[in-house]
């Protein structure tokens, strides 16, 4: 197996799984953590990831196919998403090659797809827990907006609007801190989200607003 990337909590290897291009995501233990906590978090995250990937697919959201799970070594063997770029790289490439106005225009259909997809996900009570533009892939020609969600390690099932609101808040913060001047895109995401999560979006948006205010208005003592 060839080590491809090392993230903060997992090593990503590339390999071949019976003829299929495969990614092995190996969560490793963190020695700064208490062993009991470490073991429990690692197992919990492998399970959450598997569960959410399958549940998302069942709701029509593209996620990698899981080939094999080894709980003993905390490894997930999954389909390598060939011919894909992260939404992060794509936004950066669009922003660097176009004027600000053109970039927003080009990225609007993508924002629509993201909002639509997250609406479906939340409607199924799947909370991703770590929505960033690095955790979204575009497969094939990016302009086709074939969006694939990955990295579900922090996901969970919950129908509380609070958790869904925080999920969107995390994305908003990640989007705006990683890609300056994307506030408009986030609004597009929210609009599309409201359309696809037709029943619950009102409460979720209200919670999002509340969570935003908590951040801005918190009295921050010494």
């Amino acid at each position: 197996m060839e080590l491809w990337k090392q993230g903060a909590e997992a090593k990503i290897h590339k390999t071949d799984f019976y003829g299929k291009p495969c990614i092995v995501k190996e969560r490793f233990s963190k020695s700064y953590r208490h062993p009991i906590l470490d073991k429990s978090l690692t197992a919990q995250r492998v399970k959450s990831e598997i569960r959410a990937m399958l549940r998302c697919r069942m709701s029509g959201i593209l996620t990698p196919t899981v080939y094999f799970v080894n709980m003993d070594s905390s490894c997930i063997y999954m389909e390598e998403m060939l011919d894909s770029v992260t939404v992060r790289d794509y936004i950066q490439s669009v922003q660097s090659s176009k004027t600000a106005v053109e970039a927003i225009e080009t990225l609007t259909p993508l924002a629509n797809t993201i909002g639509h997809t997250l609406g479906i996900m939340h409607k199924q009570n799947i909370v991703h827990g770590d929505l960033t533009t690095s955790n979204m892939l575009l497969q094939g020609d990016p302009s086709n907006n074939r969006l694939c969600l990955i990295d579900f390690g922090l996901s969970f099932f919950e129908n509380l609007s609070e958790d869904k609101g925080v999920d969107l808040y995390v994305l908003e913060r990640a989007l705006i801190s990683t890609h300056p001047n994307t506030e408009k895109l986030f609004n597009v995401i929210l609009e599309a989200y409201c359309k696809s999560n037709d029943t619950g979006s009102k409460d979720v948006i209200a919670k999002l607003e509340e969570v935003r205010m908590r951040g801005r208005k918190r009295t921050m003592v010494g």
């Binding site: 993230g7 903060a8 909590e9 963190k30 020695s31 700064y32 953590r33 208490h34 009991i36 906590l37 429990s40 978090l41 827990g129 770590d130 929505l131 960033t132 690095s134 922090l154 925080v166 999920d167 808040y169 995390v170 994305l171 913060r173 990640a174 801190s177 990683t178 300056p180 969570v211 908590r214 951040g215 801005r216 208005k217 918190r218 009295t219 921050m220 003592v221 010494g222």
Partner: protein, 335 residues
């Protein structure tokens, strides 16, 4: 050569510090300590600051062996913090600035911590974990702002620790967090507590209500000692902080990490951060209680940077604000 004096009083510490071109000449501090089981209230804290302002100021001048005429700029904490203590300290700063005929600079408290940390440790461009009684933020510098990558979505980590100290009726002297740290050293039985990380954000309120509710029972039955609970609490909340800091480091490709704020002098937090940093081939920068805990020199140091980059605050704008986000400040002194 620029000499800056800084007044800090956003919470229960009153500090006056004098900095001369990156050298701390003096940094005395007086802390308002409440009885066990009690937090500090704004009104009483402000009164404490008023009572001790002149004595601490005199001490700062004496230790620095400096007279008011040598001072170039008077810096004070504009916010964030508790209203009444902030104002009581700002009044002192405004008064001396007018008496001495010196310009003033309004400083963001969080920026003070970051700049002091950078000065003391020599960290160039670190990811900053800012942890205190009122703040929990993971910060990185980019394009003239200290940007907040992660933060608590409810209460601050220091607040969580302080409130648990109240449950155990621990002494507030020298600080509740310090006493939790001492007890935690003797704990070894780990209790699993709610661990809530969302992206680069954390949440402590669920954990706090869980342990507040369970603690009396667990202690009474003798299943866990207060030491075990302090240990478990620290292990859990610190692991959450290290995790989001590491994510920010991975996200920004950073090889330096700096811990600032009152909780930052916790040795166990530093040790855990060191372990994480080492595994990444990164370097940890931390300071001791002289500079981690709120102090006047940090306000002087941030003010010194601002002053050198050409800023001053007109007297009419030397107000205070309880809410003042780290990312609102234009960082004119860094490229």
């Amino acid at each position: 050569m620029v000499v800056a004096i800084g007044f800090e009083g956003s919470a229960n510490k009153l500090g006056v510090g004098i900095v001369k071109d990156g050298v701390v000449l003096s940094n005395p501090r007086h802390t308002y300590i409440t009885p066990p089981g009690q937090g500090f209230l704004p009104k009483n804290t402000a009164q404490h600051h008023r009572e001790h302002a002149l004595e601490v100021l005199q001490k700062a001048l004496d230790e620095a062996k400096i007279s008011p005429k040598d001072i170039d700029v008077v810096c004070y904490t504009k916010g964030p913090g508790m209203g009444a203590p902030l104002v009581s300290t700002a009044i002192v700063a405004r008064t001396v600035a007018q008496l001495w005929g010196k310009p003033m600079i309004a400083v963001n408290h969080c920026i003070g911590h970051i700049e002091m940390g950078r000065l003391v440790t020599g960290a160039e461009n670190p990811i900053v974990l800012y942890v205190s009684g009122g703040n929990t933020q993971v910060i990185a510098y980019s394009q003239r702002r200290y940007r907040i990558f992660g933060e608590t979505i409810d209460i601050a980590v220091g607040n969580c620790l302080d409130r648990f100290a109240r449950v155990l009726k621990l002494s507030n002297d020298p600080s509740p967090g310090y006493n939790i740290e001492q007890l935690a050293k003797k704990g070894n039985k780990f209790l699993e507590l709610p661990y809530v990380v969302k992206g680069m954000d954390v949440s402590f309120s669920g954990l706090l209500s869980f342990i507040e509710e369970k603690a009396p029972q667990l202690l009474q039955k003798g299943e866990y000692t207060p030491e075990d609970l302090c240990f478990s609490l620290q292990e859990t909340v610190f692991a959450m902080l290290i995790e989001i800091t590491e994510r920010a480091m991975a996200h920004c490709g950073s090889q330096e990490v700096l811990i600032v704020g009152g909780v930052g002098c916790n040795k166990r937090l530093q040790e855990m951060m060191e372990t994480m940093a080492k595994e990444r081939g990164a370097k940890l920068y931390a300071t001791d209680e002289r500079f981690c805990i709120d102090n006047g020199a940090m306000i002087a140091q941030a003010g010194w940077e601002m002053f050198r980059s050409g800023q001053t605050t007109p007297l009419k704008d030397t107000t205070c604000t309880q809410r003042f986000r780290t990312d609102e400040v234009d960082i004119t002194w860094r490229s």
